[in-house]
C-alpha cells in the first residue's frame, strides 16, 4: 500500500464519521414531522395523504403495521413480476427485448421488493428502460423506505409506555421517500451524470471503430437508478457488471461518491435512533460497535489483498478496473457487504481468498455492520437484546433495555430473528452441495466452488445481493431457492422485530437503578461485539473453514485447483 491509499481511506471514513451525526439528527426531524430544511415540500406530502386516503395522525398497533407492510410488499412484488413478464408489450423498449421467464421474474421481483437486489440477469441484455424505471427504480426507493419504517416502529415502541401505538406505516413510508431518499438521490444522480454516468432514452448505438470493427454501446436512464441503488443500500446494477461498468461508475470521483453513499444513511441511523429513544449515548454506542467491526474487517481484507501471489508477480488485477486499482476495490467489497448493498466494482470471486471470505463474513454476521437502510439497525437491536439478556443472566437480574424489561417473549422473538436467516443459509447450502441440479451451475473447483454456493445463499438470505459470480444463477433451481431464501431472510426478521416492538410498547418504563446494566458504555460495546462474533462463529465457522479459510492456506502454499 502507498500513502495515497491510506489518505483516501482516512478521507472517506473521516467524512462518514463527521457527517453521520448531522444527517442522523436531521432524519429524526423528518420522521417526527418537525420543521426542517425541506418543509416547503409539505404540501406535496399532504397531497399524497389526500389522494391515498391516509390519515396522518392515525397510529397503528404492531399487527396493523405488519399487515400494511405485507400488503405493500405484495403489491410491489406483483407489479415488478407483471412488468417484467410483459415488458415485450410495454413502452420504452427500443431494443424490443422480450418478456423474461416466470422464474427469473419471480426471483427479481422478490429480490427487489426486499431490498436485496440479487440479479440473475444482465441488465443491458434483458431489461427494457420501462422495466428498469417503473419496476426497479421504484423498488429501490420503497424497499429501503420499508426497512426504515420497521426501525421507526421499533424506536417508538421503546419510547412509548403502556401503549399500542407504533406510528403510521404509510406516513413513515411517505416521509422517508419524499424528504430523505428522493432529494439525496436527485443530487447524487446529477453529480454522477457530471462524472459520465449515462442518462438518456436513446436506442443502443451501433458504430464502426477506427479499426473497422463494429461496436454496440448500451444506453438508458442509468444515473437515476444508480443514485438510489447506492443510497438505499439496494445494489442492483443497471448493467451486468454493476458498478464496475464504466457507464455506471466512470471515474475515481464517481467511485468515492458511490462508496460514501453506500454507508451514508445506515451510518446516520444510529444517531437518529438515539434521538428517537431519547438516549443519544446509546445511539453513539451502536455506531461505535458498527464502525469497529467495519474497520477490523477492512484491515483484514486489505492485508489479504496486498499479500503477494505465490506464483504470479506484481499486483493481481483480475476482475478489477484500472481506474480503481486494489484499494478502491477492497474498500468497496467491504462497504457493500457490510451495508447489505451488494453492488460491486470488482469481482468478489477473483479477490484473494480471505478478502472474499471477509465479504462473506460481513453478510453472515446478519448484515448489522451498518447494514441495510433501517434493516441493519433493527438487526443490531436484536443482538442488543440478546446481549442484555446474557448480561442479565450473568448478574442474575431481570434484563432491561432502556427501561423496558426484556422477558421470555422478547428473547424468543430475538432468537427467531437470528435463526431464520442462519437456518436457511446453512440448510440451503447443504442442500445445494448434494443436488446435481444445483452443482451444474458451479464453475470453480475445490473450496472456491463451495464458496460460490455458500456465498450465493448467504447473499440471498442476508438480503445483500452481491455475488461470487462464477455461479450461473439464472436457472430454475437457483432462481427459486434464492427467492425463497430472500423472502425468509427479510420477513423472518421483520415479523419478530415488529412482535418485539408490539410487546415493548405495552411495557412500563422502569427508571434505571444502581443494578441496571448500562447500554451506554464502552463495556457494552465489547460485550455486544463478543455476542455478535460468538453467534456468527458458532453458526458458520465449520462452513467458512471448508471455503475461504482452507482456500487461503492452500493458496499461500501455491496449491490450486
Amino acid at each position: 500500500m502507498k500513502s495515497f491509499d491510506f489518505i483516501q481511506i482516512v478521507l472517506i471514513l473521516g467524512f462518514l464519521v463527521c457527517v453521520s451525526p448531522v444527517l442522523g439528527g436531521w432524519i429524526a426531524k423528518i420522521v417526527e414531522g418537525e420543521k426542517h430544511l425541506l418543509s416547503f415540500l409539505s404540501p406535496l406530502e399532504n397531497f399524497i395523504y389526500l389522494i391515498s386516503g391516509i390519515r396522518e395522525k392515525e397510529e397503528m398497533n404492531w399487527k396493523q403495521y405488519a399487515l400494511s407492510i405485507v400488503g405493500f410488499s405484495f403489491l410491489s412484488f406483483s407489479a415488478v413480476f407483471l412488468i417484467l413478464v410483459f415488458q415485450g408489450s410495454l413502452p420504452l423498449n427500443p431494443q424490443n427485448l422480450p418478456g423474461v421467464s416466470w422464474h427469473l421474474a419471480l426471483n427479481t421481483a422478490m429480490s427487489f421488493m426486499t431490498n436485496t437486489n440479487w440479479q440473475s440477469y444482465g441488465g443491458e441484455s434483458t431489461l427494457s428502460y420501462f422495466s428498469q424505471m417503473v419496476a426497479l427504480t421504484v423498488q429501490n426507493f420503497v424497499s429501503a423506505a420499508v426497512g426504515m419504517t420497521v426501525l421507526l416502529a421499533l424506536a417508538r415502541s421503546i419510547r412509548n409506555k403502556e401503549s399500542q401505538n407504533l406510528g403510521n406505516f404509510w406516513v413513515d413510508l411517505t416521509r422517508t421517500t419524499l424528504y430523505l431518499l428522493l432529494p439525496l438521490s436527485l443530487v447524487l444522480a446529477i453529480l454522477l451524470v457530471g462524472q459520465g454516468v449515462i442518462q438518456n432514452f436513446a436506442p443502443y448505438l451501433t458504430l464502426k471503430t477506427i479499426e473497422g470493427a463494429s461496436q454496440i454501446l448500451p444506453m438508458g436512464p442509468a444515473a437515476s437508478q444508480i443514485a438510489i441503488k447506492q443510497l438505499g443500500t439496494n445494489g442492483g446494477g443497471f448493467f451486468n457488471a454493476n458498478s464496475a461498468h464504466p457507464f455506471e461508475n466512470p471515474t475515481a470521483f464517481s467511485n468515492v461518491l458511490q462508496l460514501i453513499s453506500i454507508l451514508l444513511i445506515p451510518a446516520a441511523l444510529p444517531f437518529t435512533f438515539g434521538k428517537l429513544i431519547r438516549s443519544q449515548k446509546h445511539g453513539f454506542i451502536l455506531f461505535v460497535t458498527m464502525l469497529t467491526l467495519l474497520v477490523v474487517g477492512l484491515g483484514l481484507s486489505l492485508f489479504s489483498e496486498y499479500l503477494p501471489h505465490p506464483s504470479i508477480s506484481g499486483t493481481v488485477m483480475e476482475g478489477k478496473e484500472t481506474r480503481f486499482g486494489v484499494t478502491h476495490s477492497v474498500l468497496w467489497s467491504v462497504f457493500t457487504t457490510a451495508a447489505s448493498n451488494g453492488s460491486v466494482n470488482s469481482m468478489h470471486s477473483s479477490l484473494s481468498p480471505l478478502s472474499g471470505g471477509i465479504a462473506l463474513l460481513n453478510m453472515l454476521l446478519g448484515e448489522i455492520i451498518f447494514g441495510g437502510v433501517g434493516a441493519g439497525l433493527y438487526g443490531m437491536v436484536i443482538f442488543v437484546i440478546l446481549t442484555v439478556f446474557i448480561a442479565g443472566l450473568m448478574v442474575g437480574r431481570t434484563p432491561e433495555y432502556l427501561g423496558k424489561k426484556i422477558e421470555a417473549q422478547e428473547v424468543k422473538m430475538a432468537i427467531l430473528a437470528v435463526l431464520a436467516p442462519n437456518f436457511i443459509i446453512l440448510a440451503g447450502t447443504a442442500l445445494s452441495v448434494v443436488l446435481p441440479i444445483a452443482l451444474s451451475s458451479v464453475s470453480a473447483k475445490g473450496p472456491h466452488g463451495f464458496t460460490e454456493i455458500f456465498y450465493a445463499v448467504a447473499s440471498g438470505a442476508a438480503n445483500n445481493g452481491s455475488a461470487f459470480a462464477g455461479l450461473n444463477a439464472n436457472t430454475l433451481y437457483w432462481n427459486l431457492l434464492l427467492a425463497f431464501a430472500i423472502c425468509l431472510g427479510r420477513f423472518g426478521v421483520i415479523f419478530p422485530v415488529l412482535a418485539i416492538a408490539g410487546n415493548l410498547a405495552k411495557k412500563k418504563i422502569t427508571p434505571p437503578s444502581p443494578g441496571t446494566f448500562s447500554t451506554e458504555t464502552m463495556i457494552f460495546v465489547v460485550l455486544l461485539i463478543s455476542v455478535i462474533l460468538i453467534v456468527g462463529a458458532l453458526t458458520f465457522f465449520p462452513a467458512l473453514s471448508l471455503g475461504p479459510i482452507i482456500e487461503h492456506f492452500l493458496w499461500l502454499e501455491g496449491k490450486g485447483f
Binding site: L75, Q199, A202, Y204, I210, A241, F561
Partner: protein, 183 residues
C-alpha cells in the same frame, strides 16, 4: 380491505413520483448541464462517431494500443468478468501464457467490466516497440510516440483519488493524428 386500497393508492403515487417523474427530472437536468456525458461521452472523428471514451474497444491490430483482456470479447451487450479464482490452476496458466506473449502488469488480467477503457503507463509503454515496428517508425517518430504516451497520462483526480491511467481509445486517435505510418 380498506388497508389494501390505501396501499394500492400510495403505491401508485410513489411509483409515479420515483419511477417516472424522478428519472425524467434527472434526465432533464443532466441534459441541461452535461449533455455529452449523459449521452455516453461519445468520441467523434470528423463526422463519424467512433466510440465512447468510457467503453473499451477490442483493438487487435499491432499498429494500435491494445486494451486489457475482456471476458466477453468487448461485447457491449454483455459486460462482465471471468470470475475466476486466483487460486485456480487454469487461471494461473492463462496468466503465464499472457506473460509469455510479452504482456505486462494489468494487461495480464481480464478486467471487471470487460470494458475497462484504461491501461497503466507501464502497460502503454510496453506496447511502444510493437507499434513502432508495425508502423515502421523512424527513431524520431518513436521518440514522439513516447512523449505522446507520457502526455496522455491522466493523473489522480484532485491529485489524490483513484489511479493514474491512460485512455486507450483517445491515445489511439491521437496516435493516428500525430504519428506517420497511418495504417
Amino acid at each position: 380491505m380498506k388497508s389494501l386500497l390505501t396501499n394500492l393508492r400510495v403505491f401508485l403515487v410513489l411509483t409515479l413520483l420515483t419511477g417516472v417523474i424522478y428519472p425524467l427530472v434527472v434526465t432533464a437536468i443532466g441534459h441541461l448541464f452535461f449533455l455529452e456525458k449523459a449521452q455516453g461521452s461519445l468520441v467523434r472523428k470528423g463526422n463519424e462517431t467512433v466510440g465512447s471514451e468510457l467503453l473499451a474497444q477490442g483493438f487487435s491490430n499491432p499498429k494500435y494500443f491494445w486494451p486489457r483482456p475482456s471476458a466477453n470479447k468487448y461485447d457491449g451487450l454483455s459486460s462482465g468478468a471471468t470470475n475466476q479464482s486466483i487460486s485456480s490452476t487454469e487461471w494461473i496458466k492463462t496468466v503465464k501464457e499472457r506473460e509469455a506473449q510479452g504482456l505486462v502488469s494489468e494487461m495480464r488480467f481480464a478486467s471487471a467490466s470487460g470494458l475497462d477503457p484504461d491501461i497503466s503507463l507501464e502497460a502503454a509503454q510496453a506496447q511502444i516497440q510493437r507499434i513502432s515496428t508495425a508502423r515502421e517508425l523512424n527513431s524520431n517518430d518513436k521518440a514522439r510516440l513516447e512523449i505522446l504516451v507520457h502526455n496522455s497520462l491522466q493523473l489522480r483526480q484532485a491529485g489524490i483519488f483513484g489511479e493514474e491511467r491512460i485512455n486507450v481509445l483517445k491515445l489511439n486517435l491521437a496516435l493516428d493524428e500525430a504519428i506517420k505510418g497511418t495504417p
